[in-house]
């Protein structure tokens, strides 16, 4: 199979921070808004480079979303940054009314997403945000898989006209995609072609999916690995083609079963080509404190868990 090297451990939020500076360099209309977590979300680089385009809102996320929508009217491109839970769940109605329904060019950037936030515990570990954001008409949902891809996704979000939710995490994770990659919104990324099973993954779990494919290869199972960095609009064609080829699908995400990538894929398969499928996701429960690695293990989001689900789905394959 195609091999991917972990070039360095790097947090996706740093990819976002660097991408935001690049977006600001490329376009003078880019504005960044923060709610007292500027350093945590890595917006400090932008704040330093473009102080006149940085807006500190204080701990008031609802007001921040409204200000961003108001700014967008004049052609500004506001990037609203914060912990994913507090820029989605806390302000769902604000996003619904003045960003999604009003169809404004606002970028909602959620850092510290998922259970790998770790020690802060469940109050801050959103695993519902993809469900919330993808449910909104007009909203594009991006979930890049490593720091390099988060950089590229941030610049792509700037170039895209319309509401975007960009989701990324806090801990240092393997960096394996290209530094100067093209990020095409809505296009699945084929990481490894295979014949026996399709592993369709997003975010931090793409690396785990590649690790799983390696382990499966050693057992003589050929796994296709597809990175879905755009949850919405979903590249249904890539998913249907792969499912038809392999006849078995496993989805992987750091999100609840309900409403995440898995549900989007299941819907696609049910409507187009019913295929045995298994989910690697968190089953209807909240997170807890611990290290990111402990979280992935405890919530069964590791490569070993993906391998197990692959075997389960292969057993169901006709």
């Amino acid at each position: 199979m195609k091999t991917y090297e972990n070039k360095k451990m790097k947090d996706l939020r740093s990819g976002f921070g660097e991408g935001l500076v690049e977006a600001g360099n490329q376009n003078a209309d880019v504005i960044a808004l923060s709610a007292d977590v500027t350093g945590s979300v890595k917006m400090d680089g932008f704040a330093k480079a473009f102080p006149e385009r940085f807006i500190q809102c204080g701990i008031a996320e609802a007001n921040m979303v409204g200000i961003a929508a108001g700014l967008s009217l004049s052609g500004k491109i506001p990037f609203v940054g914060g912990f994913a839970e507090f820029v989605t769940g806390r302000v769902y109605d604000q996003i619904r009314q003045v960003v999604a329904y009003s169809n404004k060019n606002v970028k909602i950037c959620g850092s510290h997403a998922g259970v790998t936030l770790g020690e802060d515990g469940a109050t801050h570990q959103t695993m519902e945000d993809i469900a919330l954001m993808k449910a909104l008409p007009n909203m594009t949902v991006l979930v890049p898989c490593d720091a390099n891809q988060t950089y590229a996704a941030t610049v792509a979000a700037m170039k895209h006209n319309g509401p975007v939710y960009l989701r990324f995490g806090r801990p240092k994770m393997p960096t394996f995609t290209d530094e100067n990659q093209e990020f095409v919104i809505g296009k699945a990324q084929m990481l490894n072609e295979g014949n026996d099973v399709s592993i369709i993954a997003t975010g931090h779990l793409v690396w785990e999916a590649l690790e799983a494919a390696k382990a499966l290869e050693a057992e003589g199972i050929s796994a296709e690995v597809i990175n879905i960095h755009t949850i919405k609009p979903l590249d249904t064609e890539a998913i249907i083609n792969s499912a038809k080829k392999t006849g078995a699908v496993v989805t992987c995400e750091e999100h609840l079963f309900n409403g995440g990538l898995g549900d989007s894929v299941a819907q696609t398969l049910a409507l187009n080509c019913p295929t045995p499928m298994e989910y690697v996701a968190v089953d209807d429960k909240f997170g807890e404190s611990g290290t990111p690695e402990q979280m992935l293990q405890n919530y069964h989001l590791k490569a070993v868990d993906i391998v197990e689900k692959v075997k389960a789905v292969l057993a169901r394959k006709k």
Partner: protein, 282 residues
């Protein structure tokens, strides 16, 4: 239009529109609309710098208005149509399937003059702050106006926005609170007393203009002009505007009964008998 009689004539016709529009679809919010008729008429026909025949979403070199209490669309749509944003006859489509005149303001249906959806209360002040900041960034001297219900001040986001605008000196912003003392479940005192609003807004760093009778056109104009004189002086401005819900139709006045209830056919006839057809019905 600075002739007070002309403005009063517009207001009277707008009130006819409000009761007719809500009666026609047996829904909508006539009470607050009637109470804010002088406000809307004065703002759109006299105070605001805008070009209704040439609406642009970005509002460059134009004043902007955001109705945060989005439920009072009858007065919004009537005044917008009467000053030229869209044909007056379109008022007959209010809340009818396929209309651009949605129950609450919407951008999705492309009605000229609407820049943001509203109606989920408490959000318009934040939006206006964003628009006002953008005008400062672009070195525009125009003013951003908002309207809020007094009951709407129970929403926490209003106070996030109030704190922000005061602290960051957003002084090209004039917010108006419709202090009619009424909300759906009763008076504001019964539901959740608002306390000393002047002291609250001043404590948040705003210049407060008190308007004793927002249903008196001359007082309304005077309050707006006083408020405008404070623009650019380092503080956002709020007009605390006392009105009577339902003003102009005797049996609808001073009660919350018609907050979200349309007049019946009999009530419509009674209301229209009290309101002269000054500009011609739609």
């Amino acid at each position: 239009m600075t002739n007070i009689l002309d403005l009063q004539n517009v207001a009277t016709q707008v009130r006819r529109d409000i009761v007719r529009m809500t009666n026609a679809v047996n829904s909508g919010h006539p009470g607050g609309s009637l109470g804010c008729t002088e406000f809307m008429t004065a703002l759109f026909f006299d105070i605001m710098e805008h070009d209704p025949s040439n609406f642009t979403m970005d509002g460059k070199n134009s004043d902007m208005f955001f109705m945060s209490n989005g439920h009072i669309t009858p007065v919004l749509y009537s005044v917008m149509a009467r000053c030229g944003y869209f044909p007056v006859k379109e008022l007959s489509t209010f809340r009818v399937f396929g209309t651009r005149l949605q129950g609450h303001p919407s951008t999705e249906h492309g009605l000229p003059g609407i820049r943001m959806a509203s109606g989920s209360l408490g959000q318009g002040l934040s939006v206006a702050i964003g628009a006002a900041i953008a005008k400062k960034m672009d070195n525009e001297s125009n003013i951003v106006y908002t309207l809020h219900g007094d009951g709407e001040l129970e929403e926490g986001q209003i106070w996030e926005a109030a704190m922000y605008a005061g602290a960051k000196k957003v002084d090209n912003l004039i917010a108006t609170i419709d202090c009619n003392g009424q909300q759906i479940d009763g008076t504001t005192d019964e539901v959740l007393s608002l306390g000393d609003l002047k002291a609250k807004w001043e404590a948040f760093g705003w210049t407060v203009v008190e308007l004793e009778n927002g249903n008196d056109m001359q007082q309304m104009l005077d309050a707006f002009r006083l408020a405008k004189s404070f623009v650019g002086k380092g503080k956002p401005i709020v007009i605390l505007m006392k009105t009577e819900m339902g003003y102009g139709v005797d049996f609808m006045q001073g009660t919350n009964k018609y907050h979200g209830v349309a007049p019946s056919n009999d009530e419509l006839a009674k209301a229209l008998a009290q309101l002269e057809e000054t500009l011609g019905d739609y």
